[in-house]
């Protein structure tokens, strides 16, 4: 069940494929990862950065440089400047600075990777403000060879945060479901799709994965008992338990911000209503009480409210309710059907699936202005999940008849696609910041 079937995943290697967009247009750029770095083009909005080769061990240097550049390119707000022919240095070097400036780079990343004791490596890096000819950040890591890729992500996180003011999400993880034939797998991967491991494999459907706020556990819905049941599983140890054992369906788990409780949908009282239980399944109580309507897809936002979809007003719309109960307040008013709300980490906006005619697309609503902006074109976009910095949203889409993951920036400008060979991928959940 929790075996790390790395072997089986060879066919599922995921590649982020990046599209450069303007004004929310989807441009398909083919299926080669290399295109991503060259074509991202939102012009003056992008910060030009050069990542130099790392001094020292050639193999690890190449990995570090490649991963950092790929991360920065995927952010959509940074443009990589070619690093060939630059003076090899891990310091502030006058000749190198002149070259960075000549290549119009605003910032430069330099560093080194050298073997230290016990098979470990020491990795250093500096982020340089090129116009100011000054160091902005500098760090030293002592890591094993196996952690080199993770180290590159941590460096990219620092670079991104220093240049944009927002925390980077390159060290975070994604969970998603892969379906190949009649085989379903719940997969956890790095945010760039690498290091994918299967944590659950089943002949029955798996849906609705949700990360605990500390990133140690995943709640999800499995049909292995011939009905939807919620399981809570430790991601690293594989140990798991059913959240609730009851008649009917238990579905759509959502963690409270403190990780102590889980809101979910249940048919145990007839129909489908919201319930809340402890994360161990204890003290389950009913939150919404009208069995003749559908209440489901809860999301427990940072403002403490539970957002959910309900057809209580006739059509499926989004509402919010206090976890202690009381009246629900309607949040969406446009459109015939709005589903699957997710509130950004700053609590200021909400992404959801909006039906437009026969198309289902992502839309984002700003709570202050009540403005709704459509972010994607559909026709079958669903299951949005915010990156923990609120800048990107990963979601499920269909491309060439196959289930793919895609990501869009919260302003709709940057779009990417995460495709898989030989499998449909869907139900993404973006994990929290790594501590």
């Amino acid at each position: 069940m929790n075996a790390l079937t790395e072997r089986c995943l060879a066919a599922l290697r995921l590649l982020w494929i990046m599209g450069a967009m303007l004004g929310g247009l989807v441009a398909s750029l083919g299926a080669r990862a290399q295109l991503t770095i060259d074509i991202v083009g939102v012009g003056s909005q992008q910060i030009p950065v050069v990542t130099s080769e790392f001094v020292g061990d050639a193999k690890h240097s190449e990995l570090l440089t490649t991963v950092i550049q790929a991360d920065l390119a995927r952010s959509g707000v940074i443009k990589n400047i070619a690093n060939s022919g630059l003076p090899l240095t891990s310091e502030l070097n006058a000749d190198a600075l002149a070259q960075y400036a000549a290549r119009a780079a605003d910032a430069a990343v330099v560093g080194s990777v050298t073997p230290s004791a016990n098979g470990q490596f020491q990795v250093t890096f500096r982020l340089i403000d090129v116009p100011k000819r000054a160091q902005v950040a500098g760090l030293v890591y002592n890591v094993s060879a196996a952690d080199m890729r993770a180290t590159a992500h941590r460096i990219a996180d620092v670079v991104y945060e220093k240049l944009t003011g927002d925390k980077g999400v390159f060290s975070t993880r994604l969970a998603y479901v892969s379906k190949s034939g009649s085989r379903y797998q719940l997969i956890v991967a790095d945010s760039d799709g690498m290091n994918a491991i299967s944590i659950v494999a089943s002949a029955e459907p798996i849906i609705s994965p949700a990360w605990s706020p500390d990133g140690t556990r995943l709640a999800y819905v499995s049909f292995e008992n011939r009905k939807p049941s919620i399981f809570v599983q430790n991601v690293s140890t594989g140990s798991r338990q059913a959240l609730i054992v009851a008649r009917g369906n238990q579905s759509a788990p959502a963690w409270s911000p403190d990780g102590r409780s889980i809101a979910f949908a249940s048919s145990q009282a007839g129909g489908t209503q919201l319930f809340i239980a402890g994360a161990d399944g204890s003290n389950a109580r009913r939150l919404t009480t009208n069995s003749s309507v559908i209440d489901t897809a809860p999301h427990w936002a940072v403002d403490g409210k539970i957002y959910f979809m309900s057809d209580r007003g006739g059509s499926p719309q989004i509402y919010r309710i206090d976890p202690s109960g009381g009246n629900a307040e309607r949040v969406t008013f446009e459109g015939s059907e709005n589903a699957n709300p997710k509130v950004a980490a700053d609590g200021k906006s909400m992404v959801f699936v909006k039906r437009e005619g026969s198309r289902y697309a992502l839309a984002i609503q700003d709570f202050a202005s009540r403005q709704v902006q459509t972010l994607t074109q559909g026709p079958v976009d669903e299951s949005p999940s915010f990156a923990p910095n609120g800048k990107l949203i990963v979601y499920a889409s269909v491309y060439n008849g196959r289930g793919v993951l895609a990501a869009v920036s919260a302003d709709g400008r940057v779009k990417q696609r995460l495709a898989s060979s030989g499998a449909d991928v869907r139900e993404p959940a973006w994990g929290p910041f790594v501590r």
Partner: protein, 199 residues
């Protein structure tokens, strides 16, 4: 479930199985098959309370014997009538209109046949599995499938079936019978299936 198959030699099972097949295949002789149809007919024309009365009072003899044969001859202990194409009990799917969960008249007979069987076979348990087409969100479709499942259960409850014999669940859009994206496929997938526990 019901594994009360004592120590009869295998050939006796084989004999009883062939007897059962012969019985169910030949529609004129067996009392049992007639009873099944009678019950369905009774329920269609009479109010549910009366259906309950007739079901419990008149059935025992004939039906129990059919049930016993089935239990002793099938590896899963289930009544062969459940699989007999000639029996209404072999019909298991109730289809629904788009975004609807009302049980259409054409499925009343099917639902009534199962209700009658459940009433005269108190040990039998069913799971009603609601399904939807793929349009709309997965979580909403789970809930819609549940409404379909519960709608079928409600009809059976009105016909007098004990609540503890039925569990309503939903597969939403996750287990389509037809995975293509055509109106025909969507129609096939909007349904509730009756499954006997042990099948």
């Amino acid at each position: 479930m019901q594994s009360k198959t004592p120590s009869r030699p295998v050939w006796i099972h084989a004999l009883m199985l062939s007897a059962a097949i012969a019985l169910t295949a030949c529609s004129s002789t067996p009392e049992q098959a007639a009873k099944v149809e009678d019950r369905a007919a009774t329920s269609t024309t009479s109010p549910s309370t009366q259906g309950l009365g007739t079901g419990t009072s008149t059935s025992p003899g004939a039906v129990t014997s059919a049930g016993t044969v089935g239990q002793n001859t099938n590896p899963d202990g289930l009544d062969p009538a459940l699989r007999d194409p000639a029996s209404p009990l072999s019909r298991r799917s109730v289809f629904f209109d788009y975004d609807s969960f009302s049980v259409k008249d054409e499925y009343k007979g099917l639902v009534e046949a199962h209700a009658a069987y459940l009433k005269r076979t108190p040990k039998a348990r069913i799971v009603i599995e609601g399904n939807t087409d793929e349009r709309g969100s997965r979580e909403y479709n789970l809930a819609l499938g549940q409404k379909r499942s519960e709608a079928v259960k409600r009809v059976m409850a009105l016909l007098g079936v004990n609540d503890s014999q039925i569990e309503s669940v939903s597969f939403g859009e996750e287990k389509p019978r037809n995975a293509t994206q055509t109106e025909q496929a969507f129609a096939e997938n909007r349904r509730a299936d009756i499954r006997y526990v042990g099948e």
